[in-house]
């Protein structure tokens, strides 16, 4: 009997997993878990859903029977039953058991995900996430480098995170990789993620992250990206970034002109084009652009090509309402835009 229920339960789990994983995109949906953390969470979601479906079925069955059998047919007065101890005990005990079945794995998983051991190791991949209105900064303290908007990490390894916010509260969430954790203004929160290489491949090596805490008008558009690559490729990227301690020399004339504009118009006062994390956080007002040319998206939401980049530079407000770049520089002419775009797109650290 017991084996039978368990068997049925696991069948239910399998069916549900099958149905649910049809939902959403592999790079975004929490129903398509792409790593250990997300999988742990997904299993708990499945277990709880199974219990809940069971509860709903029981209640609905009773409900339907009652509604069919006991509709008023005549004017008879039914017996005024006071209650039933036996029944009351049953429907107190069974939910308690169901709750326990859910509570134990929950506690276990909570403690497991809270376990940050390994973070202190010298070769651990540690990332400091700093959220600002409406962009993300990723600092690699062990490597001494900074990047923005797109996080680059190796697959099949634990990645440890320190999260904080510089202005208001945000929340760092990459659904396919794991649940959200708030970036507070008061403290540093920690968690870890891990990405499976085959899942990464299915998702095109690029996972979509969202800001999950209301932070102002452009909260909806405060997307981040996680580029999950193999260890080799990651090392290559790190090497490239580390090498970019000096501004890169633009090659074409247009790009050169772009660089000049970039410096003259004051862009440089907010945006670094070198990767070192030597400036203090408060002075890093805008995203670091060292490897901008390699990013898939501009400000997390526009395809990174000349067209879209120019759209952003021309009028950031139309892309992200209330962003902190609008109105901080003189209006740009079409030529200036061209030059800037050329320059920015040429910023790359790997070949």
């Amino acid at each position: 009997m017991k084996r039978f229920t368990r068997w049925r339960l696991s069948l239910l789990l399998v069916i549900m997993a099958f149905i649910l994983s049809g939902c959403g995109e592999p790079y975004l949906s929490s129903l398509r878990p792409a790593g250990e953390v997300a999988k742990k969470q997904f299993h708990l979601m499945l277990l709880s859903t199974a219990i809940m479906v069971l509860v709903i079925l029981v209640v609905t069955t009773l409900f339907v029977i009652v509604l069919i059998r006991f509709r008023r047919k005549d004017d008879r007065i039914p017996e005024q039953v006071e209650g039933s101890h036996k029944l009351e005990v049953i429907w107190t005990v069974i939910p308690i058991i169901l709750i326990l079945i859910l509570a134990l794995p929950t506690v276990k998983a909570t403690l497991a995900l809270g376990n940050m051991s390994g973070m202190e190791d010298e070769d651990a991949v540690v990332v400091n996430v700093r959220a600002s209105l409406y962009w993300w900064e990723f600092e690699y303290p062990n490597e001494g480098i900074v990047t923005s908007q797109e996080l680059v990490v190796p697959t099949d390894e634990k990645i440890f995170f320190n999260l904080t916010a510089s202005d208001v509260k945000h929340s760092f969430w990459v659904p396919a990789l794991g649940g959200t954790l708030d970036t507070n203004t008061d403290n540093v929160n920690t968690f870890w993620l891990q990405i499976d290489s085959d899942a990464a491949e299915e998702a095109g090596n690029l996972f979509y992250g969202k800001c999950a805490e209301l932070c102002g008008p452009s909260h909806a558009l405060m997307d981040s990206k996680v580029r999950a690559v193999s260890r080799d490729e990651y090392d290559r990227w790190i090497k490239g970034m580390k090498a970019a301690k000096e501004p890169q020399k633009p090659e074409t004339a247009l790009a050169k002109k772009g660089e000049e504009i970039f410096n003259e118009k004051g862009c440089i006062s907010c945006h670094a084009v070198t990767s070192a994390n030597s400036t203090i956080e408060a002075a890093r007002i805008g995203p670091n652009l060292t490897d901008f040319g390699e990013r898939a998206y501009v400000v997390g939401i526009l395809q990174n090509n000349k067209e879209e980049l120019k759209k952003w530079l021309k009028n950031p407000e139309s892309v992200k309402p209330a962003n902190k770049m609008t109105g901080t520089y003189e209006e740009l002419t079409e030529e200036e835009l061209d030059a800037l775009a050329e320059y920015l797109l040429s910023l790359k650290v790997t070949e």
């Binding site: 969470q41 809940m52 506690v107 954790l181 979509y208």
Partner: protein, 620 residues
């Protein structure tokens, strides 16, 4: 001449309502004001759904969306759901326990006016520089960063209406403890009375933390305090804790009275006494108790650490047990009964599966690790609309249809009522069921738009269609109310025919003194008991005598008005020199009115026994 008379009649009625301390009239005031705010909040909900119907929509700006979304949540919770429940409590609770009045008629009126002025203040923000835009939770870092006066409207408005709620709560607790008629023991009280009792106790303990946290925010924004300013040593997590120490009990403040209404409706239309009455009472108290131990489940992702998360996860799950007891008791009440599917009963019946779906998604949220994936997504939006609409709004609609004859002496149209019900039910499930999946698929809540090509289009579109159905249903309800009021066909004491509790033993609407002689209660479901014994009326518990009634008073209005003025002063004080005098002036009005109240003896009036004997002398 004729119109002059009419006008005078109107003014007299207006004055009557402005000064009334009669719980039945206060009920009507709550109903009208709460209904207005429900429509307002509903329209805001529709705007949200229009904006989100298609990706990259530019129907509203991002800034506007945040205001609409914030005001929708705030309005619905504080200005619609709670007042509508207070309306029903005021309308029937004193009748249910066989009382002539509430314990503090004056404070009852004061509670209403405070709520109304708070609500008006909050909504004036739309015309004075923009509405609050930091979500109904108004988390501190964002609400400090918000520019202009928006958040100040939120804090000051909620503070005023919060005082009103607290007073209403104390009033009902005392009424229930002290004003029960002879024989109405605790374990004979109708379920709605019990749930009101527990809900009001929750109000008593949950509103002070809200009051304090709002004070902190007011002080920070307007008076230079540093509670939430991290640079000065402040801590924004304090706001989160205080808000949720209030906020979680708040959801049970909403749902417990709803449970009470369903208990009444289900047992009435099943013609059976409530199954497991004692365990229902026990479960209600237990839910209230546990409600204070679980607030941090809204903060699983704040970073409190795994131990705290685990403790609060398990504590939260425990609430499934008492709630389950209630669900099964309702089912067993219907089991073996003689069920008549009137409009109120339809809502009560539909409530059961709808609320269970919402409740079990609540338990899913409670699994902390899984909640890391649900938190601040549309999954949570789905969860709480299921419990709030399936629980609270259905209860208000059920109660409205059920008690309409008792409040106004005429029945709402059943056919229209059923049409409303079906449209609302379908619209509700259509709107919110898909939202769970949207959340799981990666859609955060409080987003003014979503991008194309991320798999979120279909779900949002369906959801928007559903909300239109709910709107249509609401419009039909309004039409129903208008038609019914125009026809105004009078009904007798017990229009549903199956009334069980004391309120059905007196005329509809009841005379202003409620009971000529206080009834003697000899059993649970007292009126049903007497009916079964073949009597038409309740036996009296006292000889016919003079009846003491409180005097009407304009002071509650003035006290509330003073705070309303003072709030403007407080808000504009940092920018304009007239702010401070206005602040002081408002407070003088308030405290002056309070002083007048306490110095002027108010002994009330007596209705003479002779007047009661001769029924003509007493107008209902």
């Amino acid at each position: 001449m004729n119109s002059y008379a009419q006008k005078r009649g109107f003014l007299a009625t207006l004055w009557d309502y402005l000064t009334t301390v009669d719980h039945k009239k206060i009920a009507i005031l709550y109903l009208v004001a709460g209904g207005f705010f429900f429509v307002l909040g509903g329209i805001e909900a529709l705007l949200i759904r229009v904006q989100l119907a298609v990706p990259n929509n530019d129907f509203m700006s991002a800034d506007m969306f945040n205001q609409v979304m914030t005001m929708h949540g705030t309005t619905m919770i504080f200005l619609a759901a709670m007042p509508l429940l207070f309306a029903l409590m005021n309308a029937v609770l004193p009748l249910q326990i066989g009382a002539r009045d509430v314990a503090f008629p004056f404070i009852n009126a004061l509670g209403f006016w405070l709520f109304l002025f708070g609500g008006i203040f909050l909504n004036l923000s739309w015309f004075l520089g923009g509405a609050p835009d930091a979500g109904w939770t108004s988390y501190a870092s964002l609400s400090l960063a918000s520019e202009g006066k928006r958040i100040d409207f939120y804090t000051l408005g909620l503070q005023i209406s919060g005082f009103g709620t607290l007073m209403a709560g104390i009033n009902f607790i005392v009424t229930i403890i002290n004003m029960r008629t002879t024989g109405m023991t605790y374990m004979r009280m109708p379920m709605f009375t019990w749930t009101t009792f527990v809900a009001c106790s929750l109000i008593l303990f949950a509103f002070p933390p809200l009051t304090i946290s709002i004070f902190f925010l007011i002080f920070d924004r307007l008076f230079g305090a540093q509670f939430f300013n991290v640079d000065m040593g402040g801590n924004t997590i304090i706001w989160e804790h205080l808000f949720w120490i209030f906020g979680h009990p708040e959801v049970y403040i909403l749902v417990l009275p709803a449970f009470g209404i369903f208990s009444e409706v289900i047992s009435t239309f099943s013609r059976k006494r409530l199954f497991g009455y004692a365990s229902m009472v026990f479960a209600t108290v237990l839910i209230g108790f546990l409600g204070f131990m679980v607030w941090a489940h809204h903060m699983f992702t704040t970073g409190l650490g795994p131990i705290a998360n685990a403790i609060f996860a398990v504590a939260t799950m425990a609430i499934a047990v008492p709630t389950g007891i209630k669900i099964f008791n309702w089912l067993l009440t219907m089991w073996g009964g003689s069920i008549k599917l009137t409009t109120p009963m339809l809502y009560a019946v539909a409530f059961i599966p709808s609320f269970v779906i919402g409740g079990v998604t609540g338990i899913m949220n409670a699994a902390s690790v899984a909640d890391y994936q649900y938190h601040d997504t549309y999954f949570v939006v789905g969860h709480f609309h299921y419990v709030i609409l399936g629980g609270v709004v259905f209860a208000v609609l059920a109660g409205l249809h059920f008690y309409w004859p008792k409040m106004f002496g005429t029945m709402l149209n059943e056919t229209l009522g059923k049409i409303t019900f079906w449209l609302f039910l379908i619209g509700f499930h259509l709107t919110f069921f898909v939202q769970h999946f949207l959340g799981l698929m990666g859609m955060p809540r409080r987003t003014f738009t979503f991008l194309e090509g991320q798999g979120l289009e279909t779900g949002n579109y369906i959801s928007s269609i559903g909300s239109v159905l709910m709107a249509v249903a609401s419009v039909i309800l309004v039409i129903n109310i208008i038609i019914t009021s125009v026809k105004n066909k009078k009904v007798g004491n017990d229009p549903w025919g199956d009334g069980r509790t004391l309120e059905w033993s007196i005329s509809s609407p009841p005379p202003y003194y409620n009971f000529k002689q206080l009834p003697l209660v000899r059993s649970i479901d007292a009126y049903w008991h007497e009916k079964m014994e073949g009597r038409k009326e309740m036996p009296p518990a006292e000889p016919l005598g003079d009846i003491h009634m409180p005097n009407p008073s304009f002071i509650p209005f003035m006290i509330s008005f003073g705070l309303f003025i003072a709030a403007f002063g407080a808000m504009y004080r940092p920018d304009y020199s007239w702010g401070l005098p206005v602040l002081i002036g408002g407070l003088v009005i308030t405290f002056g009115s309070m002083l007048v109240r306490s110095l002027k003896d108010d002994l009330g009036t007596y209705i003479k026994k002779e007047e009661l004997d001769d029924d003509k002398g007493v107008k209902a």
